[in-house]
């Protein structure tokens, strides 16, 4: 059974519950769904919003390449990745990753892998808007995110 891959990059909010309902019914083989939501936080009142810039075309293509790699590595029945761009306020969703499989471990691993690669390889950039009205700066990439991606390297690649 081929894996159903759904990738969406959009400015609009999305409905997490509806997405989970869709993927859990992808086929009768699905016995586990793992869901990850990335949410904009206000950093104790410091942030008014995040502005997400993206590279249209490449963003979808790169997430697609990451998803296909996940399908090669784990027995998953369906994957959904939705990533928003534009201005996002604290409390709103930024990203949703869903992985559906027969058994839980493949779904956990595939969802975790997708997020680790998405953070470091999908062309999105966050700029802060500060609550005090001043212009914020671009968010710096975190070394911890690179380290999280490295742990997925196969022994032959190390």
């Amino acid at each position: 059974m081929p894996c159903a891959i759904r990738i969406v990059v959009q400015a609009e909010p999305f409905d997490t519950a509806a997405e989970i309902a869709t993927i859990r019914n992808a086929d009768a083989n699905v016995g586990a769904v793992v869901s990850f939501s990335g949410i904009c936080r206000d950093e104790s009142g410091r942030l008014a919003a995040l502005e997400l810039e993206h590279y249209p075309g490449m963003a979808e293509a790169e997430i697609g390449r990451i998803a296909h790699e996940a399908v090669q590595r784990w027995s998953v029945d369906a994957l959904t990745v939705i990533h928003r761009h534009g201005k996002i306020v604290p409390g709103d969703d930024i990203v949703l990753v869903l992985a559906a499989s027969s058994h839980r471990q493949a779904a956990f691993d595939a969802a975790s892998f997708l997020m680790d690669f998405l953070k470091t390889r999908a062309p999105f950039w966050k700029k802060e808007h500060l609550a005090n009205g001043s212009a914020g700066d671009w968010v710096d990439a975190r070394e911890a995110d690179d380290a999280a991606r490295e742990r997925w390297k196969r022994d032959t690649e190390k």
Binding site: P123, W138, D145
Partner: protein
Amino acid sequence: MKLIYFAWVRERIGTAEEEIELPAEVTTAGDLLAFLQARGEGYAEALRDPKIIRVAVNQEHVGHDEPITGAREIALFPPMTGG
């Protein structure tokens, strides 16, 4: 060749995209960064630390030692911070 810039690379260079004729000796992504650095103050500022700049050729990541000859579209941008 179409060049596209994102995030603070775009802001420092001062444009989102442009068409540039590249000299024949510019054959790799690293050559391109060195070539652009010499184009003006904004470029020099944006590309001051070239090793952290990411390059995509035709919407796929490439290393700095990889060829860019014949590319339709090359993008330069900082390390990504999505998710």
